[in-house]
Assembly symmetry: C2
Homo-oligomer: 177 residues x 2
């Protein structure tokens, strides 16, 4: 028996911010928990987004997006980006943006990393669309990564449900074997 909201059995999941559109004219930012690496070389990732989202419209129009990695420091903005809809939220956010290197969607200055992506495939599954993007440029902060490996005290953010978030423990675990 599959019951409602059973996708929560995969939670807590990391939460990310997705920017889309053209920073020079129309753009948006939303939160997304449904993000996955799909290939190491080349680096390809997927983001699953509901069709009712303005971000869905913008990614479909421009064929580009940015996956940003928020920290607990910008939790309030992560919540606003996920609970308000459309570009009006941009006026409420304290986040600041900059022009990306390759894509038209902006990067987020406060993010621990920004991954610029170009859409190479899209597939509709149930009530969402999976946008598959090749990562064409990456930005990361040394406070959060060493040689691209995450530092566990960087305040990475995960989502439990609704307005409940969490970060990681400060203690690493290693198998005995």
């Amino acid at each position: 028996m599959v019951i409602r909201m059973s996708y929560r059995l995969l939670y807590p999941l990391r939460t990310y911010l997705i920017t889309s559109g053209d920073y020079g004219s129309e753009y948006n930012v939303m939160t997304a928990d449904w993000v996955i690496p799909l290939s190491a070389k080349p680096f390809i990732l997927g983001v699953s987004i509901a069709p009712r989202r303005y971000t869905h419209t913008l990614i479909s129009k421009y064929g580009e997006f940015v996956v940003s990695v928020p920290s607990i420091k910008i939790l309030d903005d992560v919540w606003i980006a996920g609970s308000l809809s459309g570009p009006a939220k941009l006026k409420v956010l304290k986040l600041t943006f900059s022009k990306a290197v390759v894509v038209k969607a902006p990067i987020i200055n406060e993010a621990l990393a920004n991954l610029e992506c170009r859409v190479i495939d899209r597939r509709d599954y149930g009530d969402h669309t999976l946008f598959v993007g090749e990562v064409v440029h990456t930005h990361s902060k040394s406070e959060a990564y060493v040689d691209n490996e995450p530092k566990i005290d960087a305040g990475f953010l995960a989502h439990i449900a609704w307005n409940r978030f969490i970060t990681f423990s400060s203690e690493e675990l290693k198998p005995r074997t």
Copy 2:
């Protein structure tokens, strides 16, 4: 500039166990960090697996798999399932298995949840294959979930890199707004 292993910028990621094959004859278990919900209703998820994996062969052959949710209590087995290859690892693991309800692949008794999946699509992206599965049956433990929402003290496991793992903080975070 995209540098090697830049997919680690999305880490730490939750780590899961994937079972595949037929519990009555040939089956396997492996760890996978690359798992994503793809639709809420119906509940569809994706698992990205490299073609060299025995699990890739078994999912391709049987068209079914199970996503299991490990806890820190079975970290040693999670590591073995991820670092040894092929069915020989089954002799080393302390994990125990049971017959699933719908699919031929087994469920893991020690897991916090088991999600039985039937493959509805597969796509090759770069060096991995995304197997898309509709969830046809779920199992979960009340020690880890309340109404399908995760309890933060259940010891959910995430992967940093190689043999470095982590769990979540015991303190929930809520936005002010």
